[in-house]
């Protein structure tokens, strides 16, 4: 097992720049197509920013762990935090609302629903787990 199969982040927005670098490694290791890698990148950024800004409410010294699992026809990325119970899928959705009055808060969740093939939330003893599934090919 490679040590790169898990990425541990501190709960600050500057940490997010480590994610695409890690994904590049994972993508080349497993031959993830560019468009799938873009979708994973997008979804992880939305999930992680949401945890940092809302789950941890700006506390910069908590941790978030991202892992992945390869399945025959898909990749699953699992995000664990230690924030209070919060299911982002319960939040309001912004779709093609009028942007003159745009509520950007729900837009990340909308993108998540559109770019991930599957999303599963579970409450864990220590916090929250979100599992994001992506097809291995088109």
């Amino acid at each position: 097992m490679s040590g790169d199969e898990q990425l541990t982040l501190r709960s600050r927005l500057t940490e997010l720049s480590r994610v695409p670098q890690w994904l590049e490694q994972v993508g080349s290791q497993h031959g993830i197509p560019a468009d799938t890698q873009f979708s994973i990148d997008l979804c992880l950024e939305e999930v992680l920013a949401n945890i940092i800004l809302h789950g941890y409410a700006g506390n910069p010294d908590r941790t978030i762990v991202v892992r992945y699992r390869t399945l025959p026809k898909s990749f699953v990325f699992i995000v664990d935090d230690e924030a209070p119970p919060f299911n982002p899928l319960d939040g309001p959705q912004t779709t093609t609302a009028t942007y003159d009055e745009m509520q950007v808060g729900g837009l990340g969740i909308h993108l998540l629903r559109q770019f991930a093939q599957s999303i599963e939330y579970e409450s864990t003893p220590s916090g929250n787990r979100l599992s994001l599934g992506f097809a291995a090919s088109d």
């Binding site: 927005l13 500057t14 997010l16 720049s17 695409p20 560019a34 468009d35 873009f38 990148d41 997008l42 950024e45 939305e46 920013a49 779709t95 093609t96 609302a97 942007y99 003159d100 745009m102 950007v104 837009l107 990340g108 909308h110 993108l111 559109q114 770019f115």
Partner: protein, 113 residues
């Protein structure tokens, strides 16, 4: 995220973005974009070199377009790559800030002369 500007004919300012328009990229350009939005009549945002676009980047684009619209101007996007365009269309931002792939038609849609 790098950002350069170029004044085109017809009161159009072209803003060329280069890099990832993610949380960090959006934070890097938000202030400069807002200053431009508060002073320039029309803006063409050149997306050719934008390799990633997330919801924070979408917010930057929408905020700029809304400011310019409130001042009576227009904003358009030029030549995003396929995946970035998919984000723009999935979010519906393309209905608020039109996407062009032809530079002349993009400039013509914004030009005030």
């Amino acid at each position: 995220m790098q950002m350069t500007t170029e004044e085109l004919a017809g009161g159009v300012t072209k803003v060329v973005l280069d890099g990832r328009l993610d949380v960090e990229g959006a934070q890097a350009i938000d202030l400069k974009m807002n200053v431009l939005a508060g002073s320039k009549p029309n803006m063409l945002i050149d997306m050719q070199k934008v390799s990633f676009l997330g919801s924070m980047g979408l917010r930057t684009i929408v905020t700029v377009a809304r400011t310019i619209k409130n001042r009576g101007g227009k904003t358009a996007l030029y030549a995003p790559d396929e995946l970035v365009e998919k984000v723009l269309k999935t979010s519906g931002v393309d209905t608020y800030v039109p996407i062009h792939h032809d530079l002349q038609s993009a400039v013509a849609s914004l030009s005030t002369t």
